[in-house]
Amino acid sequence: MNINSKNFQPNGPRPKHLTIGRIGMYCFIFMCALFFLMPLYVMIVTSLKDMDEIRSGNLLYIPKALSFYAWPKAWSEACTGFVCEGLKPGLINSIKITIPSVIVSVSLGALNGYALAFWRFKGAYFFFGLCLFGAFIPYQVMVYPLLKIESAIGIYSSLPGIILVHTIFGMPILTLIFRNFYAGLPIDLFKAARIDGGNFIKIFFYVIIPMSTPITIVAVILQVTGIWNDFLLGLVFAGRDNQPMTVQLNNIVQVDYGVAEYNVDMAATILTSLVPLFVYFISGRWFVRGIAAGAIKG
């Protein structure tokens, strides 16, 4: 073998090539991103224009003169029906609804999933099947019966009323994801805890919950975004005093009289979507990890 032929032998790391396929893929990804970012861009620039400029058309242009007045107006002055206090009370209502609903529904979902995965009681499979089925029933079917039940027990149109509704509707999917996560944990761990003297509740608190971080994060993200974005249930069950941000946003946007102020509408919409956006930005990494977390090693 002569010395030169050595240069043609594969040696060390494989060289990286930019292939046609790769370039095509990047183009596609770029187009996708553009497609999904376009509405956000339009919303932001419109919210920073004044009404004259909006009326002149040119949806995609950047504002000639920045005007910030739409933002404070959306926040504290825009009219939602008869009152004109902006979105501020809605934000507080949404927080008051979301936080307890998420805590209660995620805790109960975890407990359900744990019971189904580890304590294989009689009829556990049937119950699990029922849960799966429940996850596919449309909300609308249950709105009227639930409304009747809640008025009968006297919590309709109140904060506890809407929290109960969110908890009920979150239960099937939360039970499902917790059960599937727990079913992936080694059963020996649970057996060891039983020999060590844990009962149903103690094992849950001391052994199972400390191992549930990834799936709990997934569940919290699901519930926060779901409950925050909810419109129908908030409209029906929360009552006039507790209307969440989404309902108030609708009231701002759907004006029956006067001029439609698109810049205020856009600002209000962005304000309403800030919480879910924020949740996705800080937790995207955790979300993927939690979804993939069938296997955490002990």
Binding site: P186, D188, L189, K191, A192, A193, R194, I195, D196, G197, G198, K202, Y206, V207, P210, M211, I296, K297, G298
Partner: protein, 359 residues
């Protein structure tokens, strides 16, 4: 070892739905005894252990531990400690918390917990690991901690569920030695499930060989190795495994007839139980075949040689049936060498072809 029974399994049955795993099984384990449940996977040995631990509910029968009918008691009230194949350490707790978990659940005083942990940690040499999480430990260390968890609880009976199966060969031998030492020092009753016959032979006071939910033979390792009760036990115990030859008994000459070959078995202990023309299986372990020319020897050809260091395994065949012979590591045979082999009949086993029981 006293004569008192520590664990009594009385006529238990267990089934998963319609699948019957254990049927009317009984087993007495003496105080301080090291009992190994040995068998291939699916034989019901782990199920039996889980039934004793109370992790599975029996379909029928009783379990007694230390003169106490624990059939309906929770696992925590059975005076047992258990070590699992997967270690089953609580991943979110440090080693120390893992060890103390059982005691904390019982509400034991802090001072007593600390004392017990120190004692167990010293015994198992895991003092340096107490502040670590299980994920920072090697497999061997994890299993030590798991054993420690059973130790700390002052269990009367230790249950081991294939504790060494996840470890590599070297560690397995090391920990096997330590478990044996632990039993020597603590002299607790121990019940140990394994499919590894070396573990069974080295650790056990008595082995119970299981198959299809039934105990095939319950005896000391020596007895099980030398006088297997049936064909299954004979084939399962021993590596390389026992050689089997189908034969017919010729009473007048006291010979076994294998094709054209004859083997004289007049020295076999139970020869009087054999009847003329009886179809039998002749079993002989590789180390009980002698290369030696005499009037009874059979001429064979070496077909394969497997040097294993301490021993050398030489393969040949009689009437088409492969036969392995275990020789010293220093012995030197080559392919196609001609050898004369004879059998140590005293140490052979003869089984009835139909019932597969030892004669």
């Amino acid at each position: 070892m006293s004569m008192k029974n520590s664990v009594e399994v009385k006529n238990i049955s267990f089934s998963y739905g319609k699948t019957e795993i254990l049927n009317d099984l009984s087993l007495d384990i003496k105080e301080g005894e090291f009992m190994v449940l040995l068998g291939p996977s699916g034989c019901g040995k782990t199920t039996l252990l889980n039934c004793i631990a109370g992790l599975l509910d029996l379909t029928e029968g009783q379990i007694w531990i230390e003169d106490d009918n624990v059939t309906w008691k929770e696992p925590k009230d059975r005076h047992i400690g258990m070590v699992f194949q997967s270690y089953a350490l609580y991943p979110s707790m440090t080693v120390e918390k893992n060890l103390s978990f059982g005691l904390r659940m019982m509400g034991t005083a802090k001072k007593i917990i600390d004392d017990k942990i120190e004692k167990a940690a010293n015994l198992l040499q895991i003092n340096e690991l107490l502040k670590r999480k299980p994920s920072q430990l090697s497999g061997g260390q994890r299993q030590r901690v798991a054993i420690g968890r059973a130790l700390v609880r002052d269990a009367k009976v230790f249950l081991f569920d294939e504790p060494l199966s996840n470890l590599d060969a070297k560690l397995r031998a090391e920990l096997r030695y330590e478990i044996k030492k632990l039993h020597r020092d603590l002299s607790n009753t121990m019940i140990y499930v394994t499919h590894d016959q070396i573990e069974a032979m080295t650790l056990a006071d008595r082995i119970s060989v299981m198959k299809d939910g039934l105990i095939q033979q319950l005896d000391t390792p020596k007895q099980i190795y030398n006088k297997p009760a049936n064909l299954f036990v004979a084939g399962f115990i021993g590596s390389p495994s026992m050689n089997f030859l189908n034969a017919k008994f010729d009473k007048t000459n006291q010979n076994l007839i294998i094709g054209k070959r004859h083997i004289n078995i007049s020295k076999y202990e139970n020869i009087n139980n054999l009847t003329d023309d009886q179809q039998v299986v002749f079993g002989i372990r590789p180390e009980n075949i002698i290369i030696d020319k005499n009037e009874n020897s059979i001429l064979c050809k070496v077909e394969l040689v497997e040097p294993m260091g301490a021993d050398t395994l030489v393969w040949t065949s009689i009437e088409g049936t492969p036969i392995s012979i275990r020789l010293e590591g220093s012995s030197n045979y080559n392919l196609n060498d001609e050898i004369n082999i004879s059998f140590d009949i005293n140490r052979s086993s003869i089984f009835d072809s139909k019932s597969e029981e030892r004669i």
